[in-house]
Symmetry: C2
Subunit: 265 residues, 2 copies
C-alpha cells in the first residue's frame, strides 16, 4: 500500500491528511482535460479587460489551443496584445459554484507556424470536432495560450499557485472521464463491498453504511455512517492507476481484500 502504513492486521490506518491526493498541478491538468469551455480575459483598447467565452482543446503539455475569429473582440485583442488568462471550471459539477474546483491559466497567446500549427489544430479539433469546419476560414486563426502561471482553487479557502514547469510535468488523471459513472455504479450495485472497505480498510469499524463520494487514480473517498454520525474516509489503491480501465479491477481488489479480512477476523 504505497504511501500508507498498515497495522499488524493489514488494516489501513487512514493518515490524518486523508491519503495521497492529486496535487494542485494534477488537479489543474485534470480539469483542463475534462472541460472544453472556458472564459478568456484579454486586453482591449486602452488596456480595458475583456472577458469572453471560448472553447479550447489542450495540447499534450496542457497549453490550451484556441481557434479564434478576428470577428470576435478577443481575436482583435490578441492581435494587439498577446497577454491572456483562461478561467475553467466544470459547470456539470454539483453544488455551490464557489465550492467547486476551478483554475485560471495565465500567460501569452502565440500563433504557432508550420508543423506546430498543424499539431495545435489537431489538439483543438480532438476536443472540439466541429472546429475542423471553421479551421480553414480566412478569419480564423490558431492560438496557443502558453501557460506561465496556474491558480487553482479547490473550493472555499483551498487554493494554490503552480508554476509552468510543474503544470507541464503533471498528468491529467486518466480515471476522470469515467469517475462519476464508476461512483454511481459502486453506490448502486456494490453497497456491501463499500461497507466492507469502510470497515476493514478505512478503519470505520462501526460503520453501518458507506457511500462512495469520489474516485481518482490514487484511491476512493467514502462517507461512512454509523451511530447516527457520518465521517469521510479515504482508501488508496495499491498503485496509482494508469488508465480508466484500471478502476474496475482496482476497486474489485479493494473489496476482495476487505472481505478476506472480514472472513479472517
Amino acid at each position: 500500500m504505497s504511501g500508507h502504513d498498515s497495522n499488524d492486521n493489514g488494516r489501513v490506518d487512514t493518515p490524518p491528511e486523508g491519503g495521497r491526493r492529486r496535487n494542485a498541478a494534477e488537479e489543474a491538468r485534470t480539469l483542463v482535460s475534462a472541460v472544453t469551455v472556458g472564459y478568456l480575459a484579454t486586453v482591449g483598447d486602452n488596456g480595458d479587460p475583456w472577458c469572453s467565452l471560448v472553447v479550447y482543446g489542450p495540447d499534450p503539455a496542457g497549453d490550451p489551443v484556441l481557434l479564434v475569429s478576428t470577428m470576435a473582440e478577443h481575436g482583435r485583442n490578441l492581435a494587439n496584445d498577446p497577454r491572456a488568462s483562461l478561467a475553467v471550471n466544470d459547470p456539470s459539477a454539483p453544488g455551490d459554484p464557489l465550492d467547486r474546483p476551478r483554475i485560471t491559466l495565465a500567460g501569452r497567446c502565440v500563433q504557432p507556424e508550420g508543423d506546430a500549427a498543424e499539431a495545435a489544430l489537431d489538439a483543438h479539433v480532438a476536443a472540439i470536432p466541429g472546429a475542423r469546419l471553421y479551421a480553414g476560414w480566412d478569419d480564423f486563426s490558431v492560438w496557443v495560450l502558453e501557460v506561465e502561471r496556474v491558480r487553482w482553487v479547490g473550493g472555499f479557502a483551498r487554493m494554490d499557485t503552480v508554476g509552468p514547469e510543474e503544470y507541464r510535468a503533471a498528468q491529467p488523471d486518466p480515471t476522470q472521464p469515467i469517475a462519476a459513472k464508476a461512483v454511481e455504479h459502486l453506490n448502486k450495485s456494490h453497497a456491501d463491498g463499500l461497507l466492507a472497505i469502510a470497515r476493514e480498510l478505512a478503519g470505520a469499524r462501526g460503520a453501518v453504511s458507506a457511500v462512495c463520494t469520489g474516485i481518482d487514480r490514487y484511491g476512493i473517498d467514502l462517507s461512512c455512517t454509523g451511530a447516527g454520525q457520518s465521517a469521510a474516509a479515504r482508501v488508496l489503491f495499491d498503485t496509482p492507476l494508469a488508465q480508466a480501465g484500471d478502476v474496475r479491477p482496482a476497486t474489485v481488489e479493494l473489496a476482495q481484500r476487505a472481505r478476506a479480512l472480514q472472513a479472517g477476523g
Copy 2:
C-alpha cells in the same frame, strides 16, 4: 394582435422576421437576471488580464453586484484598477456553447457607500442567499459593476452591442424563470392545442404536428412538421406578458382562438 397583421379570417400572418422578439438589451437583462455565476476579467500587475469565477446579483438597473474578498486575486486587482468586464452565459442551456446566448458587460467597479451599499448588498443576497454569511467579514467588500457597454452574442454570427442607457431601460423577461417548464408542459400535455395554433395562427396549414421550442413575454416559437418537412413559426401573444403567471392564460387564449377558427372554418 399588437405589431401584427391579421387577415379577414383573423388568421395571423407571421411576418418575415418571425414576429417581435426580445431585442439585444432585453436579452442581456434577461440573461443577467437568470444566472448568478459569471467570469470577471480584471487588470492585474503590469496590466495583465486576469479571469476568475464570481457570483453576482443584479441591482434593479441590471448592474451586477459582487461581494469580493481581498484574498481573491480579482479583489486585489479591483482595489488597484476598477476596470472590469463580466461574461455570463447559461450553462444549463442545451447544445453547442458557441451557439448559446451570452453577454459581456464592461465597465468600472465602484464601492457604494451608506444606503447605496445596503441596497447593493440586498441585491447580491437576493440572488446569493448564502452571501449574507460573508458580508460582514472584514476582507469582503461590495462592488457594483457600473455597466458602460454590453456585447450580446445570440449564437453563431448573431450579435449586437448595446449602450448603457438602453441596457438600463430594458426589462428582464418576467416569463424567463418558468419558460422552460411551460414549454415542457405544452409539449407533454397540449399537443393538440399546439397543432391548432400552428395551423390556424401560424399559417402552417399543412402541419401534422407542432412542437413548442420557446416561450417569451412576446409569444411562442413552434417547430411545425408536415409532409416530411419541418419549419419554424412564431405566434405572438395579444399583448406582451407582464408576469410569469400570465403565460398560462395567454397560451390557453391562443389555443382557444385557434380552435374557434378551426370550428368556424
